[in-house]
């Protein structure tokens, strides 16, 4: 038995499984030609058909979800939830066609989102321009030190431990440093604001989801020193262009990004003193300056370790401490040029360990340069453990916290067969019976970011040009670009749900309903306009349909409808009617049902 969903409700069109499968294969083959890339899907499962002329056949006897559920599943997983009208649009287009479209974001017009982002000029500036335009607090302090040193004020005259004449920073200095910190924070605020806005209004929803996924997979911490100066280019140049591309390209872009080089300290990692460097160290004039601290030298294993543990192989991916050291040695010299001025990748031969290395069973010959690191990336990118690790994380994000092992295996196979093509891995997931299974439906707990954006999407909010929404996300526990440790935010629902978190989520729903989020006005919400004058029962129906996707337990419906508390021990206290439409919205956004996607 299988279902047929027809645009326009043409019930007469029923395809036989075989016939339709042939059509499907032809469609996908044609699609593959268009893309010029697809090497996988047509030979795998064949659950999906996109037919000509806008007629849509979404039919599969393995899909446990109803047609409606499939639409909601797609909007909740490939997008940050549905906006008003989205479900109808996807339904009309056909869920599989919509998924195909989302897999090719470059073909989707995204004018309004681009326009909003363009209103933050800082987001298109180069790192060098940012470093020049936004004063660096630490640099100002250093300048002051140097100036004082020049004036001979280094000499300590006061031995009583009292006032340090001539060495004090003036109040004006302090104010300047504070202001510098405040201004440079605006870079981060712009990034956060744009990230929320894109998730809210971009038509390229899957791309936004994947940018978020990879930013979290390759997480860096904006609170570390000058990381905030590198973040803009990181998202714009390293992550976004590769979010649906080849994994190796993404990995390479990250490995060479000042953001990651700085965050995981590879920029500081140099050949050990007792090993040969690839080139002789040039003595710079400044190194004669004895007041300057000598730069620390030696290997830093941070990146080498996290590359394997968190970025590729996974912690049980079969590498040893010797491999960590070998990787770190291979990446010596991968650094940041003039980190406070230009902030771009540079390979420094004088800091590169020229010795032979043995990495994961591969011999990296002596006297090579940047190729060492490139080869390490080649090796880790093609390990079966990496395919499995990335597949697991993708399946966890898109399907379920209890990852179906068979699907992971198929996605890993796609990863290997397609040379790490992320788009094809996603296609394998989105065409799988597991993705459209009963078990996967509504199984994911929303992260704070997902919760906030989905709430704003569902009420048709305009993007918030202030930092308020980003602050609310932070308060819910997921400050954007604010995860300190290199493992990123958890993809598991259990980690987001605790006593304080539920409270914060409930209160967030009430804040939205009260119209206290810039851009989100319940009064302007189209559904609200239609519902306001209607009887309560109809309002509740409308809210459940619009906000909870039409799915609410009978108890939830009862609570929303009559205001009766079904578990109250006495009825006297529970008879109060809800006072207004906003309350229904607030209760629905705070309901357990809305915490899932």
């Amino acid at each position: 038995m299988f279902r047929v969903n027809e645009k326009g409700g043409d019930e007469s069109t029923v395809y036989s499984l075989e016939k339709s499968h042939m059509r499907l294969t032809a469609r996908l083959a044609a699609f593959a030609l268009v893309l010029g890339a697809c090497t996988t899907s047509h030979s795998t499962t064949g659950h999906v058909a996109t037919s000509a002329g806008g007629d849509v056949v979404s039919r599969d006897d393995h899909r446990e979800q109803t047609a409606d559920e499939q639409v909601k599943q797609a909007l909740n997983r490939l997008a940050f939830g549905a906006r008003p009208g989205d479900a109808e649009r996807v339904r009309a287009m056909g869920v599989d066609k919509w998924i195909d479209m989302q897999l090719s974001p470059q073909k989707i017009d995204d004018e309004s989102s681009e326009q909003f982002v363009a209103s933050f000029p800082v987001l298109s500036m180069s790192t060098a321009d940012l470093l020049a335009s936004y004063p660096q607090r630490a640099q100002l302090i250093r300048d002051k030190k140097n100036e004082m040193a020049k004036n001979g004020e280094m000499v300590m005259r006061d031995s009583a431990g009292g006032k340090l004449s001539g060495l004090d920073f003036t109040a004006a200095d302090s104010a300047r440093y504070k202001e510098a910190g405040r201004q440079s924070r605006q870079m981060l605020v712009a990034l956060q604001t744009a990230k929320v806005a894109r998730a809210l209004i971009s038509e390229r929803q899957l791309e936004e989801v994947m940018v978020d996924f990879w930013e979290n997979h390759f997480t860096v911490f904006s609170g570390k020193g000058r990381e905030r100066y590198y973040l803009t280019a990181y998202e714009r140049e390293s992550i976004r262009p590769n979010a649906l591309g080849k994994f190796r390209n993404l990995l390479g872009a990250v490995a060479k990004s000042p953001a990651m080089l700085y965050y995981l300290d590879n920029a500081e990692s140099t050949v050990e003193a007792d090993r040969p460097a690839l080139a002789l160290r040039r003595r710079r004039a400044s190194s004669m300056d004895t007041t300057k601290k000598p730069r620390p030298h030696g290997l830093n294993e941070n990146y080498g370790r996290e590359l394997m543990e968190l970025h590729t192989l996974g912690v049980d991916g079969g590498y040893t401490q010797a491999d960590v050291i070998a990787a770190a040695r291979a990446f010596t010299g991968w650094s940041v040029e003039k980190p406070r001025e230009s902030g771009v990748f540079i390979f420094r031969p004088a800091q590169h360990d020229a010795g032979e290395k043995l990495f994961l069973g591969h011999r990296l010959a002596a006297n090579r340069g940047i190729e060492d690191g490139e080869q390490v990336l080649d090796i880790v990118a093609t390990q079966p453990a990496t395919a499995h690790f990335i597949a697991t994380k993708l399946v966890r994000r898109f399907v379920s916290d209890s990852v179906p092992p068979a699907l992971v295996d198929r996605v890993a196979a796609t990863f290997t067969r397609s040379d790490g093509d992320i788009r094809e891995c996603l296609r394998t997931i989105f065409t799988s019976p597991e993705f459209f299974s009963r078990a996967a439906y509504k199984s994911k707990v929303k992260s704070p970011f997902e919760l906030v954006v989905s709430a704003l999407r569902v009420v048709g909010a305009r993007p918030d040009s202030t930092q308020r929404t980003a602050q609310m996300i932070a308060k819910l526990g997921e400050p954007l670009y604010g995860h300190l440790a290199p493992n990123g935010y958890s993809e598991r629902g259990a980690d987001w749900i605790n006593t304080g978190a539920i409270l914060a989520r409930i209160n967030f729903g009430l804040v939205v309903a009260a119209g206290r989020v810039p851009g989100a006005s319940i009064a302007e919400w189209t559904d609200a306009k239609e519902l306001e004058a209607l009887p309560r029962a109809t309002q509740v129906d409308g809210v459940i349909r619009a906000i909870l996707g039409g799915e609410a337990s009978s108890d939830t419906r009862k609570v929303l409808e009559s205001g009766v508390n079904p578990i109250a021990s006495d009825s006297t206290s529970a008879a109060t009617k809800l006072s207004g439409f906003e309350n229904i919205v607030g209760l629905a956004l705070g309901a357990p049902e809305f915490q899932r996607r």
Binding site: D168, A485, N498, T499, I502, D555, P566, I567, A591, E593
Partner: protein, 414 residues
């Protein structure tokens, strides 16, 4: 590890026992709130930014100290602005005079030259290591306080439901040290821990979480409403400071005041956490007065007020301070200090081995310094932390709390 192991109240634990939803509804009400509980409490206080240990627990008996810090050293005891002598060799910064009575009563146990064996001078990494309990291992997913909660007092062992207030951090986000599978509460203040809705809407919201399918979210929701109700009925705000304790009006002072309220309200608090910043004194840190003195004044007054306020309850309480690393032994060119290595911490409580500065003093001669510049490390922070949890909180699982730590020499603070 499944977090739901720790779920003690609410829908799920009952439903998994095969009880019907209608029975469940009655049960939730019949069960009521967790009974008031009294027990041991550990209060951890993090000085973020690397506090300057040498000007906090001052080695006034070490001549090198004065040679290294000609302008910012704390003078020897007995002169104006001099250190408050403890044992003839060490003294407290004069701004920490509120802690001197605790020393005299044997409640205060400073540990010197303590810290992380990691050589990192990054605040970010070092805090991470101290909170995860795993120096030089970055990927540890949870904090050691959460691992304590997870290894002790799970549902299997407890007869009464565990309190939702077992672990409370006064912070907007769950601090790294408390991250993990066991339930914890992070709140900016007790006043914030409430549903921002009026009367009957609160009941409706509760009803939404008490009914419907029994899952993670409903379970945590039930816990939340338990906690909110428990807090309301315990009404910790009614516990005003006792014994004329004077808390500073600073955020840190107010956090400690609220911790005392939770302790007194007997809500089952076992772990409390608060942090305080402003210790990264690279520039113009001052001596007996100035920047660092101001920070220390607030720090010491807050702690002294907490101890005073708790009175005899200090028999069941240990306060432990920590900071990610110490600062350079030598002052820098700007009347400040740069990032160093070993630091100092305080363990305070009714049963600590007080009136003694713990730890082996490594000396400050050039050859005794770490990398020629910092106070060398003689006590691993994990030796102190594990001893405190073992002896005070009574867990045998310290190897799970500090995986990879093989130190066996007790620090002797308890």
């Amino acid at each position: 590890m499944q977090r739901r192991v720790f779920l003690k109240s609410g829908a799920l634990s009952l439903v998994t026992m095969g009880l019907s939803p209608s029975f469940l509804k009655r049960m939730v009400y019949a069960q009521g709130l967790p009974a008031p509980q009294k027990g041991k409490v550990l209060i951890c206080l993090f000085q973020r930014g690397a506090a300057d240990a040498l000007n906090i627990v001052v080695p006034h008996g070490d001549a090198q100290y004065y040679a290294l810090r000609p302008n910012i050293a704390i003078a020897r005891p007995g002169v104006a602005g001099g250190a408050i002598d403890l044992d003839g060799f060490f003294g407290l910064h004069p701004a920490m005079s509120p802690l001197k009575p605790l020393w005299d009563r044997g409640l205060l146990a400073p540990v010197h030259a303590v810290g992380s064996p990691s050589s990192t001078r990054s605040h970010f990494d070092a805090q991470d290591y101290m909170e995860s309990g795993t120096p030089d291992v970055k990927g540890t997913p949870d904090g050691w306080l959460n691992r304590f909660l997870a290894t002790k007092g799970t549902c299997d062992e407890c007869k009464v439901p565990a309190s939702p207030f077992r672990a409370v951090a006064f912070a907007q986000q769950t601090p790294r040290i408390m991250e993990g599978p066991a339930p914890t509460i992070a709140m900016s203040s007790l006043d914030d821990f409430t549903i921002r809705a009026t009367g009957s809407d609160v009941q409706r919201l509760e009803a939404l979480y008490r009914t419907g399918s029994a899952d993670l979210i409903h379970g945590a929701g039930a816990e939340t409403f338990d906690a909110v109700k428990m807090l309301k009925s315990a009404n910790p705000q009614k516990y005003v400071a006792e014994n004329e304790a004077q808390y500073p009006r600073s955020p840190f002072g107010q956090s400690l005041r609220q911790i005392a309220q939770l302790v007194k309200a007997d809500v089952g608090l076992e772990i409390a956490f608060a942090d305080v910043g402003g210790w990264d004194t690279h520039v113009n840190q001052g001596g007996a007065t100035g920047q660092l003195a101001n920070r220390l004044g607030d720090f010491a007054q807050s702690i002294a007020a907490l101890v005073t306020d708790l009175g005899d309850r200090m028999d069941d309480v240990v306060i432990m301070t920590m900071s990610e690393f110490g600062r350079m032994a030598k002052q820098n060119g700007n009347g400040g200090t740069d990032h160093g290595h070993a630091g100092a911490l305080f363990v305070i409580g009714g049963h600590v081995q007080g009136h003694k500065v713990h730890g082996k003093w490594p000396g400050l001669a050039p050859e005794q310094l770490n990398e020629g510049r910092d106070l060398a490390l003689t006590t691993d922070f994990r030796a102190v932390f594990s001893e405190v949890v073992r002896k005070h909180l009574g867990t045998a699982h310290t190897d799970a709390l500090f995986p990879g730590f093989t130190g066996t020499v007790p620090s002797g603070v308890l």
